[in-house]
């Protein structure tokens, strides 16, 4: 039997069709199979392993499907591999494996109030959630999209909030405002009381740095949202995405296979143990 090339450790070549500098030292790439055709189907919240030839490979969430069937993926320049990917130009070839991992369950929130809470780059994996919710707007009650960033320059996808705001409640906040900022200041959690939440019928999608997710989940719990209706996307060191490198373990979980999207009910006890 020949191994399924998508599923093992050998990537498929993908061509950079477009490269768009984003805010927050991020770049949004449009990647499509170099051999032609559409990239495989993905569910919101899934990620791929993107390989910068000779440099390394990192997990990156899929932020959407591009017009010609490729993936939109937003990479922030933080280290060797992300730097190489951010510098990739139109026509360059990178390697892609995946998509991998669990996804956000959009059906689970039908008939409910919905909170989408993103911190920084956490908006990247939540973008397909927002688009999915708005594409089936009638199936949900109130929808509140809360986006936080360290500073105004860290708010990625700057043009989209205005579009979303036509169909739902969108609030932005920054920790550290600058002279251009006239909006809300403070952590995302400070926005929770501004959106008229009905805890008993609320479903929340939360993604950002772990401290932000724990704080947000804690505040939601305190207001009465059950832990099983708070979905998070965890970040761990990942070298394979397929459960064989061992790096992403969190207690019994392989974050790459059992996650990255998990309910707070499944992970709250694990996240409380320091250095687990």
């Amino acid at each position: 039997m020949t191994p399924d090339p998508i599923q093992d450790m050998v990537p498929e070549p993908y061509r950079v069709r477009a490269r768009r500098p984003d805010r927050g030292e991020a770049v949004t790439l449009t990647l499509e199979p170099a051999g032609g055709g559409a990239a495989p189907p993905f569910r919101p919240g899934q990620f791929t392993m993107i390989y910068a030839p000779g440099v390394g490979e990192i997990p990156v969430s899929i932020s959407g499907r591009a017009r010609h069937g490729g993936y939109l993926q937003t990479v922030r320049d933080v280290g060797a591999v992300s730097h190489a990917l951010c510098r990739a130009g139109r026509g360059d070839v990178v390697g892609v494996r995946g998509p991998f991992g669990t996804s956000w369950d959009l059906a689970a929130a039908e008939g409910m109030d919905v909170i989408v809470a993103a911190g920084g780059l956490g908006l990247a994996p939540l973008r397909p959630v927002i688009r999915g919710l708005l594409a089936a707007r009638a199936r949900y009650r109130r929808i509140a999209v809360l986006v936080g960033a360290r500073d105004p320059g860290g708010l990625i996808y700057p043009r989209e909030p205005a579009r979303w705001a036509r169909h739902c409640d969108v609030r932005l906040t920054v920790d550290r405002p600058d002279r251009t900022w006239s909006g809300h200041t403070g952590l995302v959690t400070t926005l929770l009381d501004t959106v008229g939440l009905a805890p008993e019928r609320t479903y929340a999608y939360v993604c950002g740095p772990e401290v932000m997710m724990r704080a947000t989940a804690g505040e939601l719990l305190r207001r009465g949202v059950p832990a099983g209706r708070i979905a998070l996307s965890l970040e761990r060191n990942m070298k394979c995405g397929i459960g064989r490198c061992g790096h992403c373990q969190l207690g019994p979980l392989f974050t790459c296979l059992d996650g990255p999207v998990l309910s707070y009910a499944e992970v709250a006890a694990l996240l409380e143990v320091s250095e687990l």
Binding site: G56, E235, G246
Partner: protein, 360 residues
């Protein structure tokens, strides 16, 4: 009639394995250690005879056994893992936008003298590499190229505890042939584990085993089971460790652990890997290689500029809890087979059987 036969020496067995295209690997004393090493035709062909080992936490010594036994020692630092899941393997090369998968090397290797614990570890590896959502075809190819000549342990090491985990010392499955070394006179009882083994044995000079030979072999295993240096009670260990994540014992162990990763390197079931990337200077070909990694390495959990598990205690907790608790959640079996290697090869002499008792 029992298919068991008696061999007077291992020479013809080794010869037959070579004739069927196998590289034969067996226990050879080298640099004061019994290593699994390729046996080379010539004056020194065959496994080393007459060496016994003394194993204790953080200590391994070879001495003359005074009896000339070939398998008068317990498991050394090497295990089957070295062949099924090699320390390094190239994954692919990429040049000019083309990805070229590196062909899997799966040479025909006959391993001579593997133990019951090693076969148990192979069964654990099978679950890890083949039993999940992403079967590893390279592992499958390498594993299928192995011919396994096992041996029933006669002299377990001071750090062994397979008997308490039910993984040894007697070989019961997963082998092609199993040998039991008998004395008075020196001979080997050889029993096939399947058709391949039976076919091999049928071609060797031998005589049928008698009831006395079989009885002598049974006694060897019974005596070995009684002479285990250590024990672990597997009952409830999974739940217990999951409930001990906040125990102060972890930090205390962390104060002794050097985080050297020896335990994970010698463990026959540890499977963690990382990847290395390089670029050929001449033509710019990018090469990606996979190699063994360890949960004791600081970079293992590197995330956003800092490791998740920075303390030695947290790393030891991850390792021991994986072996005896979360491995069972993930793969439906413990990750430890009781070979004792990690106890022997720990430079700090950390003994997991003792630590498990302290974590009760």
């Amino acid at each position: 009639m029992s298919p068991a036969v008696v061999l007077d020496s291992l020479g013809p067995l080794i010869g037959a394995l070579r004739a069927s295209g196998h590289t034969v690997v067996g226990p050879v004393a080298r640099d004061g250690v019994i290593r699994l090493t390729e046996l080379v035709p010539g004056p020194d062909d065959g496994p080393t005879a007459g060496r016994a080992d003394e194993q204790a936490p953080g200590s391994y010594r070879l001495r003359d056994d005074g009896r000339g036994l070939v398998f008068g020692h317990a498991a050394g630092p090497d295990s089957i893992k070295r062949w099924t899941h090699p320390p390094r393997s190239e994954l692919f090369r990429m040049r000019g936008g083309v990805v070229e998968r590196t062909p899997v090397e799966a040479p025909k290797v006959a391993l001579l003298g593997v133990r019951a614990c090693d076969l148990a570890a192979l069964a654990v590896q099978d679950r890890v590499f083949l039993g999940g959502r992403h079967p590893d075809e390279a592992y499958r190819a390498r594993r299928e190229a192995l011919f396994l000549v096992a041996v029933n342990c006669a002299v377990p090491g001071g750090t062994c505890f397979c008997a308490s985990l039910g993984t040894g010392p007697r070989v019961t499955s997963g082998h092609d042939v199993v040998l039991t070394e008998l004395t008075g006179p020196h001979r080997f009882l050889a029993e096939p584990g399947g058709e391949r083994g039976a076919a091999l044995l049928a071609g060797l000079p031998s005589r049928p085993a008698t009831a006395a030979d079989l009885e002598a072999a049974r006694e060897v295993s019974e005596r070995a089971a009684r002479r285990m240096g250590r024990r672990v009670d597997p009952d409830g260990v999974k739940e217990r460790l999951a409930a001990r994540r906040d125990s102060p014992v972890w930090d205390e162990i962390g104060s002794r652990c050097l985080t050297c990763a020896n335990c994970t390197m010698v463990c026959p079931t540890c499977f963690c890997v990382t990847v290395e990337d390089g670029t050929g200077l001449a033509d710019g070909t990018a090469v990606r290689t996979e190699r063994w990694d360890s949960c004791f390495a600081l970079e293992f959990t590197e995330l956003g500029g800092a490791p998740v598990r920075s303390s030695g205690g947290a790393r030891y907790r991850q390792w021991l809890s994986h072996k005896f608790s979360t491995w069972a959640d993930q793969f439906g079996t413990l990750g430890c087979v009781g070979c004792g290697r990690c106890v022997t090869w720990c430079p700090a002499g950390i003994d997991l059987t003792e630590e498990l008792e302290r974590l009760r």
